[in-house]
């Protein structure tokens, strides 16, 4: 210990303290601060980049899920549309059928009515013809058998009776 104290050199102590503090201050300003800042920047940069990559991955997953959902929705919508279209088609067909049926029925009815009225007209025509013919016959008969009055009367009566039947 005594030797240590004897060896102690104040000059060396002075220079060491002075130079060390000078180096410390200079290095702090020109080396340690820029170095540590640069390293820290780099580290935070790496951390940020990793976080960004993680975020991007998550976002990507979200996008995928979204598109999946949209696709699903589109599929459902498409199916609904197809179903609707089919229903509409069926309805149209049914409606058309009904309409056609009704039209046909109506036409048939009209035709029937027309036939009926034609028939009636025809019957009336025939009646008229028959009457004319009868008159002609009667005229002929009258002309031919004009001599026999009783016979004539009888014939007229018979004829009138026949017509009545009709």
């Amino acid at each position: 210990m005594e030797k240590l104290i004897e060896q102690f050199s104040f000059g060396l102590f002075f220079w060491q303290l002075l130079l060390f503090i000078a180096v410390l201050l200079l290095l702090r300003k020109f080396a340690w601060k820029p170095i540590l800042d640069a390293v820290e920047d780099r580290e935070s940069g790496i951390k940020d980049a990793l976080a960004a990559a993680e975020n991007a991955k998550k976002e990507m997953q979200n996008v995928t899920a979204d598109s999946e959902r949209l696709l699903q929705e589109a599929r459902v919508e498409r199916e609904a549309m197809i179903k609707e279209a089919r229903e509409m088609k069926e309805k149209i067909v049914t409606d058309a059928k009904d309409l056609a049926q009704a039209e046909a029925d109506k036409m048939i009815k009209q035709a029937q009515l027309a036939i009926e009225s034609e028939k009636k007209a025809a019957v009336a025509d025939i009646k008229n013809e028959v009457a004319t013919l009868s008159l002609e016959i009667a005229e002929k008969v009258i002309k031919g058998q004009f001599s026999d009055k009783a016979k004539q009367m009888k014939l007229v009566e018979e004829m009138i009776g026949d017509i009545k039947l009709n």
């Binding site: 060396l12 220079w15 060491q16 060390f20 180096v23 410390l24 080396a31 780099r42």
Partner: protein, 370 residues
């Protein structure tokens, strides 16, 4: 001992190629040095050689006023190196070159004052360089305030400049690129380690930022200067108590001045203990605040000093056991120890930083229930 050496070499066999190359090169250099030294020391007695080695180690551990790379001839006072400026405060500033001391051989005369080197320290003497002793054989000469640029100060300057250059460049490279370039590739993991494994766990996420500059500077400073101490230049800065004291006092001051209320409360009025215990604990806790940085100072100083003393003693053994087995053995031991010292250099920097962070952590710890 022999077995240890063999296993050491064997384990080296499995190491990569460059380690083997390094091993061979250092081995050759070691043999060369040994061969050169042998003729010189063979004429001397073993006892004086031991003393010489001991003195050399003692001298090596001390700071010096000139930058001596190696000594060619002690007797002729031939050294290879260069002198360093001496700055004294002795009734005014005195600046002169350490060449005037001639490696402690002569007295330097400046403005009518005479100075001499005594055990690496500058003392004021008369023209003949007389050293006066008291009864405990201590020099009683006046020691002027010495602010000289010594060998260690030169190295502190060098390391400071190196750190400013390295980290300044590294910081600049981040401006253009998010990833580090060049030396930054090696330094960034260490900086991140200090932040993530030393600062944040000990201080907490909330407060660690304001201590980062100190922790990083102190870690790299101690580490680099310890590593430089292992180079052939062998300048040990951290084995000076003044250097470790300066570092420890900074840790102490930062702890004290950034401490919150909770920290002082735990020192002077320990919560959740009886009043009597509070009174007993206060001085102990207060003493603890001084002991903590003191232990930092001693730990760093002692580890580096011990490493160098053991390393140099083993190298010195080479010159004492002058036979075919002793030299390779001590070389192997020295090699193994050098590897260990490489680890110690980083480990001591780590421990200093770690404990500083721990003290800072206790200073800013928020109150929570125990």
């Amino acid at each position: 001992m022999h077995g240890f050496f063999e296993t050491d070499i064997l384990s080296d066999m499995q190491k990569p190629f460059y380690v083997k190359v390094l091993l061979v090169v250092t081995l050759l250099l070691g043999i060369n040095a040994f061969a050169q030294e042998k003729d010189h020391s063979s004429s001397e007695e073993k006892g004086s050689l031991k003393t010489e080695i001991k003195e050399f180690i003692g001298h090596h551990l001390l700071d010096s006023h000139d930058f001596t790379l190696f000594t060619i001839d002690e007797e002729k006072n031939e050294h290879v190196g260069f002198p360093l400026p001496v700055i004294l405060w002795d009734n005014g500033l005195k600046v002169f070159s350490s060449a005037k001391f001639h490696h402690g051989e002569s007295v330097a005369e400046v403005d009518g004052n005479y100075y001499a080197l005594y055990h690496g320290k500058i003392v004021k003497t008369d023209a003949e360089g007389t050293i006066n002793y008291d009864e405990d054989h201590h020099a009683t000469n006046v020691k002027p305030l010495d602010f000289s640029i010594t060998k260690n100060v030169v190295f502190i300057f060098l390391v400071s400049a190196l750190m400013l250059f390295m980290f300044g460049r590294m910081a600049k490279s981040y401006k253009t690129n998010a990833m580090p370039k060049g030396i930054g590739r090696m330094l960034e993991p260490i900086i991140l380690y200090i932040r993530d494994d030393i600062a944040i766990p000990n201080i907490g996420k909330k407060h660690y930022k304001k201590y980062m500059s100190y922790l990083l500077t102190v870690f790299f400073f101690i580490w680099i200067i310890n590593l430089l101490g292992l180079t052939p230049l062998g300048v040990n800065v951290t084995n000076n108590i003044a250097v470790t004291f300066a570092l420890a006092i900074l840790t102490y001051l930062i702890t004290t001045f950034t401490a919150n209320k909770n920290y002082w409360k735990h020192i002077f009025w320990m919560p959740d203990v009886p009043v009597f215990m509070k009174v007993v604990l206060a001085p102990i806790e207060l003493l603890g605040t001084f002991i903590k940085p003191f232990s930092l100072m001693i730990r760093l100083y002692a580890n580096i000093t011990a490493g160098h003393v053991v390393l140099m003693s083993i190298l010195g053994m080479m010159f004492i056991f002058k036979n075919w087995i002793g030299s390779p053995l001590s070389f192997g031991l020295a090699f193994a120890l050098s590897l260990l010292e490489l680890l110690v250099a980083a480990l001591q920097a780590y421990i200093f930083t770690m404990l500083s962070a721990l003290y800072f952590g206790s200073a800013v710890e928020e109150h929570h229930d125990h």
